[in-house]
Symmetry: C2
Subunit: 289 residues, 2 copies
DNA sequence: CGTTTCATTGATCAGCGTCAATCGCTGTGG
DNA sequence: CCACAGCGATTGACGCTGATCAATGAAACG
């Protein structure tokens, strides 16, 4: 079943059996690519979407200065370029990080799906938005986290996403990328990424060696990275909350209650100092830092 | 007409008059907020979406260390949190940068729209994906551009987005944000942002003074920022190409042609050196750098 | 087996953050 | 009308994080 992992990752909204079957049937064919092969080149007109079945895929842009910025790393079950359906072209390239197997869904087939079922459309739409939420978390990573925390955060994210599809073993998982890839994803140089990986290892947080990630201390790693899985929009946030007590939640307590639906806020976004103070307090209460 | 600027920004797919009217009618009410007011707080369950009619809005996250990362800046005509419809909650907060007027669209109304028209759904979907493309360009900014180039790039982006909705005058436009906001958007400190703004001014590229941006030399600014408007998915790329000759286009020429539909690439993503060399060459041909 | 890629480490240095002080503007209350 | 507080802009001094340059070894590959 081609769409199994996709549906396992994105469970809402719940599809009828017919819709699920229609989605499955929309696949035109499967295909394999060697590692490092470019699958989609930026700005080319596209007529199909790519569902990743096996292996790892990167989306990236190269800058004029010769730096590569990886924008996303995809795992099996991810609809790598579903956004090409409404957009018709991509503003970035897509390449295989490892040997991969993909399934392709022609745009006309997807159009037929959207005309057939609003629920199915919403599921597809939603999956592209979870992707976007991950994009935004990466903005936070490169914009506001230290080098070591960026790497730690990436490991946390990959762990949760791979666990969702059964690709972890206890606290370790295969992550067959190079240190150069890690550097390109986190906005660092390979040299510095290497040093930070050593630091993470020596701090007893996480170990990365030849494509294998071993999480040595999940709680410490999560705190160090400032990782809050909320942005992954996984199925059951309450379960995650138990397993991963959310540090940063305290933020929303800065000030009294908001309107009933949360859209009518009643507080300003100012007073950084105040918010920071509150945060430090929350962190202190949890005995961290 | 509430949706005028939105439809002006997002012209594809083209809507029927009925669909456009239905969209217009889905608005429940308009509302005003003072500057710095939080409009949507992260993680709160949402039941409506926000269309910005007037003013500027930011989407942001605060980190545990007290840093604020701005994830997006919205201009009139932007559906600020349309992604809350499929996602039901947001992983970030939304606040007014200036006094704003917004229109709210209840989720049930949007659901009705999606059940009514696949074309309308695609337009809405597409607009959330253009947003995501901007998110990704911001990853490139904070991850791979120098401090000054990040600011320059932001000014280029805002200029193009504001021009689309008629909010520029020749080469200047109102951008009523503080230097702190600019710093939070670009992953810099306010102090350093200030210095870089001075540098950009002294280099004769762009001037930012009390909420007014004056572009002193568009070509030089665009080149300095490495700005390629393709990621904005504006209406007519060819027009933009004439007006703003696309430097970075040359990249896709690195290697011979790809498959007919662009999905079957035939080159590897390796050999950075080669690609960089080719880029330098392209840039040299254009007499830059 | 040569060639290339990746990992690793050292030395050096620059870009950007941090700390601190000043100045101007605005709003506010006495 | 003035004193004062708060915020934003600006500038200087200093230091750290992370980039750059360089070299080596090991492993993968054709």
């Amino acid at each position: 079943m081609i769409t199994r992992l996709f549906l396992q990752t994105h469970r809402k909204p719940i599809l009828s059996d017919e819709d699920a079957a229609a989605l499955e049937a929309a696949c035109a064919r499967t295909q394999e690519f060697a590692a490092k092969r470019i699958i989609v080149r930026e700005q080319m007109p596209l007529t199909q979407c790519t569902l990743l079945l096996n292996g790892f895929i990167e989306r990236f842009k190269d800058t004029a200065e010769g730096r590569r910025q990886i924008l996303a790393i995809h795992v099996p079950g991810d609809f790598v370029d579903l956004h090409s359906y409404p957009l018709k072209r991509l503003e970035h390239s897509v390449a295989a990080l490892t040997p991969v197997t993909i399934a392709t869904f022609p745009h006309p087939e997807i159009r037929a799906l959207t005309e057939r079922s609003a629920a199915l459309t919403e599921l597809l739409w939603r999956s592209t938005l979870v992707d976007a939420a991950i994009n935004r978390e990466w903005i936070v990573s490169v914009g506001a986290r230290s080098a070591a925390a960026r790497l730690a955060h990436l490991f946390c994210e990959m762990f949760m996403r791979l666990e969702r599809i059964g690709m972890t073993r206890e606290l370790e998982f295969d992550f067959p990328v190079t240190q150069i890839d890690l550097a390109d994803a986190t906005g660092l140089t390979a040299v510095h990424a290497n040093r930070m990986l050593r630091q993470l290892r020596e701090q007893g947080l996480v170990e990365f060696r030849q494509g294998l990630v071993k999480i040595l201390n999940w709680d410490a790693l999560r705190d160090f990275a400032g990782f809050d899985p909320g942005y992954l929009f996984s199925i059951d946030r309450s379960v995650l909350a138990v397993r991963l007590p959310v540090t940063v939640q305290g933020r929303t307590q800065t000030g009294a209650g908001a309107g009933p639906c949360g859209t009518i806020g009643s507080f300003t976004a100012t007073s950084r100092a105040c918010a920071i103070g509150a945060l430090r307090q929350v962190r202190a209460e949890h005995g961290r830092d």
